[in-house]
């Protein structure tokens, strides 16, 4: 049994007087224990909404979540709010993009870490603070004793993200969801945080769902990668396969359009034309069709199905890029 099995998850936002908007459209993927899975896509592809739906953190009103999120066989979407609260932070936890806005500015860091241990593991304040110090030490925060009494504004962005990781891993969860954990950080700090995450995941056996727009981050970290476009998974592949032979024109285009540090200079970038706003609803055809170079008639007649490929992945495309065409 998979650790996390997301089946046909859909999130529809509905406001009175407006047309409903499908942010996540029947997304399915699985996460095995100890595995690192990537959800990749540009803004508006539904990657963050997917993670919020899994964690049960979407607002109560104004949206409809359907499908199943099976965590070790239990459907998280059917849990009562109380039961979900018991699991959140203990079995599944999450790290967000902006560490400053996810920490409470008026509570010392030590107490914010200790809180999790008190809530889920019934520790008293003293014991919890002692463990918090060890946790801060484990995520590489210098002089952890002193950090316990300090406030978020007193430490740097990288340190805040480390503190957030300490909070997320306090109860040794089996699944960690990281939503753009390094996007707000500088590259050298990003390298520190990614190395730390990799090391912690290896040590504790926690499974990791990595949500990012940065293909470079995925390349070094994830076992399996799900590429999202317009709320649907368009390609799923193991890391090496995906980067060597991206079959979906979107993935292929994305890989070709990023300037790379190790590519020869002065080459023109192969941009994908148009923008994310130029998509068509999936019911009418492939959402990527208006921007696609490989478009065929079938693309505009209905949504292409997600079909297994010879290499063990899945692909949603009528006219994929040939396997011989390597990425750049």
């Amino acid at each position: 049994m998979s650790l996390l099995d997301v089946r046909d998850l859909s999130v529809v936002f509905q406001r009175r007087g407006e047309r409903p908007f499908t942010a996540v459209d029947k997304v399915s993927f699985t996460v095995e224990p100890g595995q690192t899975v990537g959800l990749v896509g540009e803004s508006g592809c539904g990657k963050s909404v997917t993670s919020l739906a899994i964690m049960g953190l979407l607002p109560k009103r104004g949206n409809k979540v359907t499908g199943e999120v099976l965590f070790e066989g239990t459907d998280l979407l059917k849990l009562r709010p109380d039961d979900m609260r018991d699991r959140r932070g203990r079995e599944i936890s999450m790290i967000f993009q902006d560490p400053l806005s996810s920490l409470n500015p008026v509570i010392p860091i030590g107490i914010q870490v200790a809180e999790v241990l008190e809530r889920h593991q019934g520790r008293d304040r003293k014991q919890a603070l002692r463990e918090s110090r060890e946790l801060l030490d484990a995520v590489g925060i210098p002089d952890p004793q002193r950090r316990l009494t300090e406030y978020p504004h007193q430490i740097s962005g990288g340190m805040r993200q480390r503190a957030l990781i300490a909070i997320a891993l306090a109860c040794k969860p089996r699944l960690l969801i990281a939503d753009e954990p390094t996007t707000a950080l500088d590259v050298t700090i990003q390298a520190q945080i990614l190395t730390l995450l990799k090391q912690l995941v290896d040590e504790t056996g926690t499974a990791l769902v990595m949500i990012t727009h940065d293909l470079g981050v995925v390349a070094g970290l994830c076992d399996t990668v799900n590429v999202l476009y317009g709320g649907k998974v368009v390609e799923r592949e193991r890391r090496h396969e995906l980067f060597a032979h991206a079959r979906h024109p979107y993935t292929h285009g994305l890989l070709n359009s990023v300037p790379r540090l190790d590519s020869p200079r002065g080459e023109r970038l192969h941009a994908i034309r148009g923008s994310v706003a130029d998509n068509i609803p999936w019911v009418e055809g492939c959402a990527f069709a208006p921007r696609c170079d490989n478009v065929v008639d079938a693309c505009l007649e209905g949504p292409p199905p997600l079909e297994p490929t010879a290499t063990g992945g899945d692909l949603r495309c009528n006219n994929p890029v040939s396997e011989e065409v390597a990425v750049r």
Binding site: T149, G158, R239, F243, S257, A271
Partner: protein, 366 residues
């Protein structure tokens, strides 16, 4: 390709220091933020100069200082033969037509209540170039076409465009005055990956068509590598390395550049699995109280007990135009000096001038 042309702009030992004021009744200057602390560089006509560095290194302040959007504290800025800092009033205003800026966030740098036409005409009017209506109209349409927007955009407002299109408007606004130099501060970092490529291609095309000179400021090394002819790397207010883009990426010589390059993720698992990361310890020190000697010695894995802590290295030509500000650049390149462990020093995001709370006391000072 542009080896022989003369420099369009030259900076000599430019410094931008911001005073930190404190006091209830009388503002006392209690210290300075040394945002840019002695930068010399020159950009030739038609060249693209890329300035990279992490947040807080002073790269944006340098770009703004160059246009006198912030007033430099010291140094000379020679633009086409004249020192921009000596220009006053009307003369400065006229000089500004020739140097334009593109900002990072296209939404907040465009007035939401101005139509595209009014945004573009504003600059022309300011420089007395909008007297002939038909001619102005032709110029606007031409500029929009150059940046790939339809002429119908003129009557629209910024919110009606996508992020990439807004950035095109920002570019058009700079372009319409027919400038010689364009300073672009993080021109693509607010855009989606697939849109970044479009805007980068556009910037390159415009340069080829109009012979523009660019100063591109960015934190993304891959972007700078792609577009720049010459790259300067900044750390804590100073240039630490400068070389042609190819040389710099082939063989970075300053320890900071090496760490920076090894930290950039490459979208290729084969590269990622093999590569060795140089992880820097800790954070960027505060620019109010920069380390003595080499600014980087507190985090440098190659730091030596002699010189590094007490003598500030100057940019010097190490091999064929490759300038490095490191005492031991040659020894590091040849492998004579090996990297070692660095103890993490704690860095405060606050100004660092006031006393630090002793541990255990949580009473905030009013």
């Amino acid at each position: 390709m542009t080896e022989q042309t003369e420099p369009l702009i030259e900076l000599r030992d430019v410094k931008v220091h911001f005073p930190i004021k404190s006091g209830l009744l009388f503002d006392r200057t209690v210290g300075y933020v040394y945002a840019v602390d002695g930068v010399s560089l020159s950009i030739r006509k038609g060249e693209t100069y890329g300035l990279v560095g992490e947040s807080g290194c002073g790269k944006s302040t340098l770009g703004r200082g160059l246009l006198r959007l912030v007033e430099p504290t010291e140094g000379e800025i020679i633009f086409d033969g004249t020192d921009v800092r000596s220009l006053k009033g009307e003369a400065m205003r006229r000089a500004r037509r020739r140097m334009q800026m593109i900002f990072q966030d296209p939404l907040s740098s465009l007035d939401p209540r101005q139509s595209v036409e009014s945004l573009l005409v504003e600059g022309l009017k300011a420089h007395g170039l909008a007297d002939d209506k038909a001619e102005t109209n032709r110029r606007l349409r031409e500029t929009l076409e150059a940046v790939g927007l339809p002429a119908s955009s003129l009557s629209k407002y910024p919110h009606e465009f996508s992020g990439g299109q807004r950035q095109r408007i920002g570019i058009a606004r700079a372009l319409v005055l027919n400038p010689d130099l364009i300073v672009a501060d993080e021109p693509v970092s607010a855009l989606d990956v697939s849109i970044q490529a479009q805007v980068l291609n556009l910037l390159e095309d415009l340069q080829n068509e109009r012979g523009l000179t660019y100063l591109i400021i960015a934190h993304d090394l891959a972007v700078v590598r792609h577009i720049a002819d010459t790259v300067g790397v900044m750390y804590l207010g100073g240039l630490v390395e400068e070389a042609s883009s190819d040389d710099l990426y082939r063989e970075p010589m300053h320890p900071y550049t090496r760490a920076l390059m090894s930290a950039v993720p490459v979208p290729d698992p084969l590269v990622e699995d093999r590569r060795e990361r140089i992880l820097l310890a800790g954070d960027l020190p505060s620019p109010t109280n920069p380390p003595s000697g080499c600014r980087f010695h507190t985090r440098c894995p190659w730091a030596q007990p002699t010189r590094c802590a007490d003598e500030r290295p100057q940019l010097r030509d190490v091999v064929g135009g490759h300038r490095v500000a490191c005492h031991f650049a040659e020894d590091i390149a040849s492998g004579k000096i090996r990297p070692h462990e660095v103890e993490v020093e704690l860095v405060r995001p606050t100004d660092g001038t006031g006393p630090v709370d002793p541990p255990g006391e949580l009473i905030p000072t009013p």
